[in-house]
């Protein structure tokens, strides 16, 4: 049976990874608004994704405004691609 990546499979983390997969990079505020998670929840999931090497977090400033930039790493991109492939394979085998 196809194994699903446990780090990505958790719904909140899957939402974060799927959002970041569609952009070059985005900040914490955008992901917070789009995911509907709380600040604390988002921070803890981001820490897990950063620990797995899937997301890069850069704290910077734009002018005088603090900015936390999030980027899906190449490792994260390939893990997400692999996850989607595994998921469609799994769904295909269930349908058969």
């Amino acid at each position: 049976m196809t194994e699903l990546d446990r780090v990505i499979h958790e719904p909140a983390r899957l939402t974060i990874v799927a959002l970041l997969a569609g952009v070059e990079q985005a900040d914490f505020l955008w992901v917070l608004n789009e995911s509907g998670l709380t600040k604390g929840n988002l921070s803890s999931h981001l820490a897990k994704l950063e620990g797995a090497g899937y997301v890069e977090i850069e704290k910077t400033y734009r002018g005088k405004t603090p900015l936390t930039l999030l980027t899906l790493t190449p490792q994260g991109q390939s893990a997400f691609k692999q996850y989607k492939k595994s998921l469609s394979g799994l769904l295909g085998s269930v349908r058969r």
Binding site: A18, V23, A26, V31, E34, T65
Partner: protein
């Protein structure tokens, strides 16, 4: 938390582009400039002013497209990102760039062929409805891709404008009036959406 809809999440960045009404506002201003400049150009006396006008204005209008894109991004950095977050969009893929270049080259070749063969009059008569249909289809694609129903309304409006102005057989002048009308409508839609966006989203990140 339920398993998320991956297709919907993949479309969010594209939808985010028009969340604030700024692209519609800039697009509207660009079309007003386009239509207005060509209409004004027809009133310029046929002496050195005519030459100077048509030497300067078309390149300026062509550059206006790039300028509008640049201005939209700058405005988003000031207005949108401090309220609802910063996004750096992915650069268009190779296929998209080649497709856009192909359409531009095909349009330029068709226009040059019409001018060189002196057969521009029939095309001029049909120009307004043809351009209206192309723009309308563009709006439909935008509406579906970005989940933005207001683009459907703009598509319907440009189609109605194109058919009505095409009825007058005004040729290329009708196209310019259509651009002007569409530009005003787009700018109004953009301004209303921008006002709503600003009232719903106060600045959430304050400078330190």
């Amino acid at each position: 938390m339920q398993q998320p809809d991956l297709g919907d999440l993949a479309r969010r960045p594209t939808r985010y582009w028009n969340v604030d009404g700024l692209p519609e506002l800039m697009m509207g201003l660009l079309w007003i400039a386009w239509g207005g400049a060509w209409i004004v150009g027809q009133q310029v006396p046929h002496d050195w002013r005519w030459t100077a006008y048509w030497l300067l204005v078309p390149p300026a209008l062509a550059l206006g497209g790039f300028g509008a894109n640049w201005a939209t991004r700058r405005l988003k950095a000031r207005v949108t990102f401090p309220r609802t977050g910063y996004v750096e969009w992915k650069a268009p893929g190779r296929g998209t760039r080649i497709g856009a270049a192909g359409i531009a080259i095909a349009a330029a070749v068709a226009l040059a062929a019409m001018v060189l063969t002196g057969d521009a009059r029939p095309a001029g008569t049909m120009a307004t409805p043809i351009v209206a249909v192309i723009l309308s289809l563009g709006f439909v694609v935008l509406s579906v891709r970005q989940h933005a129903p207001h683009y459907l309304a703009l598509g319907g409006l440009v189609l109605a404008l194109g058919l009505a102005l095409g009825w007058t057989h005004g040729g290329w002048t009708s196209v310019n009036w259509m651009f002007l009308g569409l530009g005003v409508a787009c700018a109004l839609v953009g301004a209303v959406r921008l006002a709503r966006f600003l009232s719903r989203h106060p600045r959430s990140v304050e400078p330190v």
